[in-house]
């Protein structure tokens, strides 16, 4: 039982990191309807800035700088690339983000080289032990951060005019422009925010229990895809629930691997996708996503 509790807790804590990454996908998707494949590289950028600066200026300023840096990179991507696209097909833009991702990742991995960079976070490898189970302080911080940020975005999307403008721009740029929405600013803002979020996610993705930021870190961002989708690509609540679900699924599949050998080993990575497909079969727009309109 305690193993189960431990795995559950571990899954939830891992899931909160995924939720943070997924939130980045959600923000861009809501504002531009683009699936952002470059999110992984934003993550790397944010982490890189934090990791290289913390020695000199201390952790919190470095984190702030990381957030700002990644936001800047995100904004630059929007300004230099996304904005120049003159078509309407969002899947084409998704491909563009793949190109951007290749560029950014190559540059950052070249800079990171073969190093493993540490974040200099204040939590270290401390764990909180409650009865039989223990949980890392970093993960508690991740959970709190994810919850706070996700709630904040939920409220912002729903209640501020920024949120309304964003959704309007995503749905029909032309009509939104007629409402006075500054299209450029909205999507620039979204990309910057997504960049900032990526930097926060990068922090939690690379602190204990993982050794640090290195070139393969961006691959881990892929795991947040099923999280974003099964929650619903345009839902902040979905990002949280999806992230947690993916985390728990992965943790359980790993923890009970030896009881599941008939499926082949190493299904920890596969299980989230299986859950995702199952959920999509029942709810094609994810758990909390906006359903497709069905009237003519």
């Amino acid at each position: 039982m305690s193993t189960f509790a431990e795995l559950l807790l571990n899954g939830l804590s891992l899931g909160s990191v995924y939720a943070l990454i997924a939130l980045g996908f959600v923000v861009i998707f809501r504002a531009t309807e683009v699936v952002n494949f470059a999110h992984a590289s934003l993550l790397l950028a944010g982490g890189y800035v934090t990791a290289t600066l913390h020695d000199d200026i201390g952790f919190w300023p470095a984190l702030l700088a990381g957030v700002a840096g990644a936001a800047l990179v995100g904004a630059a991507v929007e300004f230099l690339v996304m904005r120049r696209y003159r078509g309407t097909d969002q899947s084409v833009l998704a491909i563009v983000t793949i190109g951007v991702d290749i560029l950014l990742t190559t540059e950052l991995t070249r800079r990171i080289g073969t190093d493993v960079l540490v974040m200099g976070d204040p939590w270290g490898n401390a764990v909180l032990t409650v009865g039989p189970v223990s949980i890392a302080h970093t993960r508690i911080a991740a959970f709190v951060t994810a919850s706070v940020l996700i709630t904040a975005f939920l409220l912002a999307f729903r209640y501020t005019s920024w949120g309304v403008a964003m959704r309007a721009a995503a749905e029909s740029p032309e009509t939104a422009a007629l409402m006075g929405v500054r299209l450029g600013r909205v999507s620039l803002g979204a990309w910057a925010v997504a960049g900032g979020l990526a930097a926060v996610a990068a922090l939690f993705l690379t602190v204990f229990p993982t050794p640090g930021l290195e070139r393969a870190t961006s691959l881990a961002a892929l795991k947040a895809f099923p999280a974003a989708i099964l929650g619903g690509l345009d839902s902040t609540t979905g990002a949280l629930v999806g992230g947690l679900l993916v985390g728990v699924t992965e943790s359980m599949a790993t923890g009970y691997q030896s009881d599941l050998t008939f499926l082949g080993r190493g299904i920890g990575d596969l299980a989230p996708y299986a859950v995702m497909v199952a959920i999509l079969l029942i709810r094609p727009a994810g758990l909390f996503g906006t359903k497709e309109l069905a009237r003519v």
Partner: protein, 397 residues
């Protein structure tokens, strides 16, 4: 047409040395198929740089047999298509390959190597599946043997005993699964039980694995994964006070880890089995290599990839020298020459025996321990040794 077959592939040079593909004028071309932008970039970079260093030094010393060596490097980024293309491109131009990263890719062109090209390939992969070809020759103990030796170390010096369980965390793919073969064999021979945990290179957080292994009550853990996974595993285990020894294969450590928060735990509880002495070994050759490498690449860290690259390049060089003595620098000549080398020591403590293509060139492993103060971050805790189980083990059997 330009491709029309012209006979006379083999030429006789002035000195009476027979030459063939890969040699033009006074230059011997050697191929390097490496990964400097993909998942094995860390390894690829060190290996390649060490080999370039070797070539530079050899040429400075007059080359081999009066021929200069030249490396042609192709970076495939661990992409099968690029790797195969790289091979196709270089195969007609080079005498052999001093480096070929990625055993699946070596396997992909194995038919061509064995069937028609017949050039010597020294892959930087230690999977036993590559054994058996007279042309493809991994250097040093393969992962299965290394793992057997590693567990042997645990049993002899870390209190692991018959009836205990050990955990084995391993990568999907050639490396991990070959190591798993070793641990399974060892377990059978020594009455241990293996609790398997397969992971992927994208997994960076080993908490789930630690929980599972703790639940299974293992007394020690073998990890056949990357440095990050090792660091996470050891770090998490220490944090939850799960104090069992952890030992990894040679690829499961990088000196960079000693700069991370996991360093104390690694120094306390982590061991690495290695097919040779570490880069920081106390041999004259090692010391010279360290000095030269530092001079040539001041910004790069010293790791075992340097040793591996140097070893492979010098083994190839050795074969070339022997072939030159036999006045046959054709591919066959070099292959034959390698088969006569039975105790070549590139300077890292373990002699290599290339006479039998079916078995690894050595079965010895050195056990190392992370140490911040050592060059390359590792110190020796047990000298080169073959366990008795490894002695009796034949790969693939």
């Amino acid at each position: 047409s330009s491709k029309a077959k012209d006979d006379g592939g083999d030429k006789q040079s002035a000195g009476g040395v027979k030459t063939g593909e890969g040699i033009s004028g006074k230059t011997i071309s050697l191929g390097v198929l490496t990964d400097m932008s993909g998942v094995y970039a860390t390894l690829g970079k060190s290996v390649t740089q060490a080999q370039q260093l070797y070539v530079k030094q050899t040429n400075a010393a007059g080359g081999v047999c009066g021929y200069k060596l030249a490396l042609t490097v192709r970076d495939h980024g661990y992409d099968p298509q690029k790797a195969v293309s790289g091979y196709t491109e270089l195969a007609p131009k080079v005498l052999g390959f001093t480096q070929f990263i990625g055993s699946p890719f070596v396997a992909a062109v194995k038919q061509r190597i064995d069937g028609q090209d017949k050039g010597l390939v020294l892959p930087q992969a230690w999977s036993a599946t590559l054994l058996g070809s007279p042309y493809i020759r991994p250097i040093g103990s393969t992962y299965d043997i290394e793992t057997i030796n590693a567990i042997d170390f645990l049993m002899k010096e870390k209190g692991l005993k018959k009836g205990d369980s050990i955990g084995h965390v391993y990568f999907e793919g050639d490396y991990g699964e070959n190591a798993l073969t070793g641990s399974r064999y060892m377990a059978k021979q020594s009455g241990l039980k293996v609790v398997e945990q397969k992971i992927k290179p994208t997994d960076n957080d080993m908490t789930g694995q630690v929980v599972a292994l703790k639940k299974a009550g293992v007394k020690a853990i073998v990890i056949s994964a990357g440095p990050r996974q090792a660091a996470s595993l050891v770090g998490v285990a220490a944090a939850v006070k799960f104090n069992v020894p952890v030992i990894g294969n040679n690829s499961a450590f990088a000196p960079q880890l000693l700069a991370t928060a996991a360093a104390p735990a690694l120094e306390a509880n982590y061991y690495v089995a290695n097919p040779s002495l570490p880069i920081g070994a106390d041999t004259p050759k090692a010391k010279k290599l360290v000095a030269d490498y530092k001079a040539a690449y001041p910004k790069d860290s010293l790791d075992n990839g340097v040793v591996a690259g140097w070893t492979a390049a010098s083994a190839f060089g050795e074969a070339l020298k022997k072939a030159c003595v036999a006045k046959d620098l054709t591919r066959e000549g070099v292959d034959k020459a390698l088969l006569t080398i039975d105790a070549f020591d590139p300077g890292f403590g373990i002699p290599q025996n290339f006479t039998d293509p079916k078995s690894a060139s050595s079965k010895e492993s050195v056990i190392l321990q992370p140490d911040k103060n050592a060059v390359g971050g590792m110190k020796v805790v047990r000298e080169a040794e073959v366990s008795s189980v490894a002695q009796g083990y034949t790969p693939g059997a």
